[in-house]
């Protein structure tokens, strides 16, 4: 074959057991610099009275004491929990329904199913801040506010979509559901493609109704994917920042200040670095707990 001197033949096992270090090194360096270091640093900062810049500070528990003592803290938690819980429930439910409907059409070769899928996905692809701006235009309360016009047609009075605290939280959550449904849809749609066709067909032949097939076969088989979906969507929603910032900035008052936005506002608007860092540690804890649950689920699914 080749004329030039051949290096000594290495056996395959010899090669695979070589060190992957050089290949992984760039990834490791970047992840350590931009994730591991900041995570350690934010935990450290939460125990100091440091300012945003400068290097004079001392260690204290004051940030946590002030944060927990703040009347806004529990409002923030409440807003976050409502925002996340309602978003996740509706995103998963709508995503599931749309995935079923799109799948049924795709099996019949209906081109409208692809159009539908694309429409849902385009909402997901738009940058979050622009979604916030778009919904801000829809929710306008002055003349020209199209949603209030549509509500008016049904005979209700106008709704203070963004000026009333409770309505604003509902409005932000609604816009977030619009944005996030696509992700659940895609996960469930992918899950449906993996279902064993013969089992479903056998059930149909044996006379199981569509509803029975859904609840007795499809749902149990999809359960692992739905659980993973639940965790990922929850993490994403806890981390939501851009859409809310553009839509309400956290207002009116602080009624839509969800946790990620609260971190930003405390640090860059009120210049309370320590308190903001303490809130960031809280979000980090939430992220960590959810991730552990996710990894557990993932392992069970693999096993």
């Amino acid at each position: 074959m080749t004329v030039k001197a051949k290096p000594s033949r290495r056996s395959w096992t010899e090669v695979v057991t070589g060190s992957p270090l050089l290949w992984l090194l760039p990834l490791v360096v970047i992840l350590v610099a931009t994730f591991v270091y900041p995570i350690i640093e934010i935990i450290r900062l939460s125990f100091t009275d440091a300012g945003l810049t400068g290097s004079d500070y001392s260690y204290t528990l004051g940030s946590y004491r002030r944060l927990l003592g703040s009347p806004y803290f529990f409002d923030m938690l409440k807003a976050t929990v409502i925002f996340v819980a309602v978003s996740v429930v509706f995103q998963m439910f709508l995503g599931f329904l749309i995935a079923l409907v799109v799948d049924q059409g795709a099996r019949r070769g209906m081109r409208a199913s692809v159009v539908t899928r694309t429409a849902v996905l385009s909402a997901w692809a738009i940058p979050g801040v622009i979604i916030g701006i778009i919904w801000g235009i829809l929710y306008q309360e002055s003349a020209g506010g199209v949603l209030n016009y549509l509500v008016g047609l049904t005979g209700f009075g106008s709704i203070p979509f963004l000026s009333d605290p409770a309505a604003a939280l509902a409005s932000v959550t609604f816009a977030n559901i619009w944005r996030g449904t696509a992700f659940s849809m895609i996960l469930v749609y992918a899950g449906i493609q993996t279902l064993p066709a013969d089992v479903l067909e056998a059930a149909r032949v044996d006379g199981a109704s569509a509803f029975q097939r859904l609840t007795r076969i499809v749902l149990p088989l999809l359960a692992p994917i739905l659980l993973i979906n639940l965790v990922i969507v929850s993490i994403d929603t806890f981390n939501t920042f851009d859409m809310v910032l553009a839509l309400t900035g956290g207002g009116p008052g602080r009624s839509t200040e969800v946790v990620a936005l609260s971190i930003y506002n405390q640090i860059f608007q009120q210049f309370h670095l320590g308190q903001g860092a303490a809130t960031a540690v809280l979000l980090l804890l939430i992220n960590t707990v959810m991730t552990i649950i996710y990894l557990r689920l993932d392992r069970e699914e693999v096993a």
């Binding site: 931009t34 994730f35 945003l52 019949r108 692809a125 701006i133 306008q140």
Partner: protein, 280 residues
């Protein structure tokens, strides 16, 4: 006969469902497009003007000439291109390492990479802001792009690792036994086979980076350097200089590239998202 009409009913039901879903998801975009083509009096008319006539394309000319949006689009394109290039470079090397080596703690290392995907960018941006401020690295594309790369890396690495895994080891083995180095195997054999996967990873990294907001918002404060996401929020907050029809036109300009990419390439995007989702 009964079979046929049941099938017909199902189809009608499906079309009805599609109509509702499409209207729900496209109405906001339709409305903003409609607003962007209105004259000022039309903005406030009740009942609303759905199809403004004649369409005011001059709103777009105004936005393109009187706001820095072209600059923002250019900045976004630059950041996205560089991010995709470096992310693919690093992720390809790492994916090769994870796919083609067996080593201790391989599984935990892969899991660790995935964990970073779950961390809120707000949390990491704050210490990075302090760090960059101390080293005069704020308003610096190199440092900002490094963070962009880091944020897309976990997903892209996992995706490419999964793609490499579908290529049998025997391909590498044959070449290595013949004296090729690992580098040659990767560049001359694996990359050409994996071109579709790499293209998909590039598309996903582009969409993710185009949408990125928190990182440039916190790490850039020089207005001429803003990507389009941050630039638009900046325009919106100066609402005395920009009214709804101009803001709508600016939004349409900002999302047009993403929507175009999405509609053209959605087949690949869907398959990438689903393969990533199923594997974890």
């Amino acid at each position: 006969m009964g079979q046929v009409s049941a099938e017909k009913l199902t189809r009608i039901g499906l079309y009805a469902a599609y109509t509702v879903i499409i209207v729900f998801f496209l109405f906001p975009l339709f409305w903003v497009l409609s607003m962007s083509l209105k004259s000022v009096p039309q903005l406030f008319e009740t009942p609303p003007v759905w199809f403004p006539f004649p369409p005011q394309f001059s709103n777009y000319t105004y936005v393109l000439t009187n706001t820095p949006i072209v600059r923002y689009l250019f900045n976004s394109a630059l950041i996205v291109l560089l991010t995709v290039f470096f992310a693919l470079l690093v992720a390809t090397l790492a994916a090769y390492g994870f796919s083609r080596f067996t080593f201790r703690y391989k599984k935990p290392s892969l899991m660790a990479v995935l964990v970073f995907q779950m961390i809120s960018p707000v949390v990491i941006s704050i210490p990075l802001y302090r760090l960059f401020a101390n080293f005069h690295l704020l308003n610096n594309y190199a440092s900002v792009i490094l963070v962009y790369v880091a944020v897309v890396l976990p997903f892209i690495t996992w995706f490419l690792k999964g793609y490499f895994d579908t290529i049998p080891y025997q391909v590498d083995e044959a070449a290595i036994v013949d004296g090729a180095t690992r580098w040659q195997v990767l560049v001359r054999i694996l990359l050409p086979i994996c071109a579709p996967g790499i293209a998909t990873a590039a598309i996903l990294a582009s969409v993710l980076s185009w949408s990125q907001f928190v990182i440039p918002f916190i790490l850039l404060d020089n207005r001429t350097m803003f990507p389009v996401s941050v630039g638009l929020v900046n325009l919106q907050s100066n609402s005395d200089t920009i009214t709804t029809h101009y803001l709508s036109a600016a939004s349409i300009i900002a999302i047009a590239p993403v929507i175009a990419v999405f509609v053209l390439l959605q087949r690949y995007i869907v398959s990438a998202l689903t393969s990533g989702a199923i594997k974890g």
